[in-house]
Symmetry: C2
Subunit: 316 residues, 2 copies
């Protein structure tokens, strides 16, 4: 059950065994050196498929007699939709390796619990429009921690490059010349769709899918409504539950059928997942009655009707 790369890492280590023995006198020195290699940048290069670069780093570390960990770095990691079983191997490895974890409210508790036990944890908020600290402050925090020489895990719900502000955060790191990696995660749309039994595309119903966010500015949800009303397209709205009434009204006003199927997914992919399906005309009332809570994902389109046949998760 181990990624294929471990084999290549083992081979690389094997080729250097004698040199390391010659370079470090005591068993303990060698142990520290190998730990740094097997968990540090050399291993990361192997996992990234950059075997030649890994070998160079190993040679360099050997020459310097160092562990290569003096410089800080940032891992921008997608934690997926909630179910920890949907974490990638790469994500979990970096979660176990980081010295400090910077996370916000969209990361599921079950995922957060898998970070290294003794890593510092910094909560940076973000619930709808309430930011505990601003985006600029988050960017500055990441830079500061990395400059202290720490391995910083910036843990995001879903995927960092789909409504995750990942671009903004690494832009600052790049400007400050701080090494970083980006690890994609399963975005909520994929996770919720799979566990809800709603294919986002389907030959007969939707040949394309569009993701937008529904969060409000000054009490308004400001979306390009006419563009969103398209035949043969599935529309996925992130963070739109608080704007649900407005979203349905505007889509109908711009020509979408009041009978268009729509689904709300609360706590998607988690055991407590709840799903509500209805039509543009009636879903807002239903959501109020059943007390749906953010964060929730909204899926709109004919594919939603397939759930009646394809719902496997809540029946299992």
């Amino acid at each position: 059950m181990i990624p294929a790369s471990y084999g290549r890492l083992g081979q690389l280590a094997g080729r250097f065994r004698e040199q390391v023995k010659a370079r470090f006198e005591t068993l303990n020195q060698r142990r520290v050196f190998w730990e740094s290699v097997l968990q540090g940048p050399v291993a990361e290069m192997i996992f990234a498929g950059k075997d030649r670069k890994a070998e160079q780093l190993l040679e360099q570390a050997l020459e310097e007699g160092s562990t290569g960990h003096s410089d800080g770095e940032v891992y921008l990691v997608g934690g997926g939709p909630g179910d920890p079983d949907l974490l990638t191997f790469k994500a979990l490895r970096l979660m176990q390796q980081a010295d400090v974890v910077v996370y916000d409210r969209l990361v599921s508790r079950r995922v957060l619990d898998l970070c290294r036990r003794d890593a510092d944890r910094v909560f940076v908020g973000k619930a709808c429009n309430q930011h505990v600290i601003s985006q600029e402050e988050i960017n500055a925090l990441l830079v500061r921690l990395a400059k202290e020489g720490k391995r910083v895990l910036r843990l995001k719900g879903g995927d960092p490059f789909i409504f995750g502000r990942g671009g903004e955060e690494i832009g600052e790191l790049m400007a400050e010349d701080i090494p970083f990696q980006v690890v994609p995660g399963i975005t909520s749309a994929s996770g919720c769709a799979a566990y809800a039994g709603i294919p986002l595309t389907h030959q007969n119903y939707a040949q394309s899918v569009r993701f937008v966010t529904g969060h409000m500015k000054d009490g308004q949800c400001d979306l390009p409504w006419p563009e969103l009303v398209q035949e043969h397209q599935t529309l996925v709205i992130y963070m739109g539950l608080l704007s649900l009434t407005q979203i349905c009204e505007q889509l109908m006003r711009h020509g979408m059928s009041p009978r268009m199927p729509i689904a709300l997914v609360e706590n998607g992919t988690l055991p407590e997942q709840r799903i509500l399906t209805g039509t543009l005309a009636d879903i807002a009332d239903q959501a109020a009655v059943t007390d749906f809570q953010p964060p929730a994902l909204i899926i709109i389109g004919k594919v939603v009707a397939l759930r009646d046949r394809l719902d496997w998760y809540s029946q299992s």
Copy 2:
């Protein structure tokens, strides 16, 4: 490094230890029983967060003295964009468990190599428009294998519900009353974007992202061009390399700027990843010169220009 659920599985097993001892005389019988529990449907229920259901299944297996494996089932699994390190824990577990693997050309070799060594492998083709066997035949194959009592892995590149025909395949399974699970995978757009340093959304450049496919029917790429030309949107085209010239011409004809940035990603997330960036006006010529090959992903939008600053992978 193990998912949290293993702890709960261990506790469940612990509570039943004495009963299992009483039920099965020999050590070998007990070993077979526990193996079936720790790899079979009971474990799956725990991993899915359905602890009560898991306990019921365990009780039932104990009563019947069976391993619960008599019925076949299908795992529809997203294998992600290529890098095996981007597999989820859930995907790899099912890959290790399946008796037979049904896969097509979009699954990376490195991912396929992680399936159970002694599992049968069935290649069902699909390169652009050449299908080795038809979709209907694939559906029928999955049904037949499951009815033979096999655990069938239907392994897809990317995510099964985003251009994966997953809905079509499980529709048939549902109609035949065959148990199945759907495991989301990292879709190519997420994987390629992360490794290319191109955020799909960005506060200043793109508040939405749209996925379409560019594959051709009768030599034509039939997309709803006017809809695709939108400000503040990133457009991702799957399987569009063969239609690249047409795509660029049509987008420009419908009003998109000839200077709009565009990126092609070949072998995304793999060590041999190649990326080409340019503009709508010049990319097709560049692609011809550099001999880009499908499958490749196309990303169009202002966010592509961020890559100049954010490219971390090819510099590492």
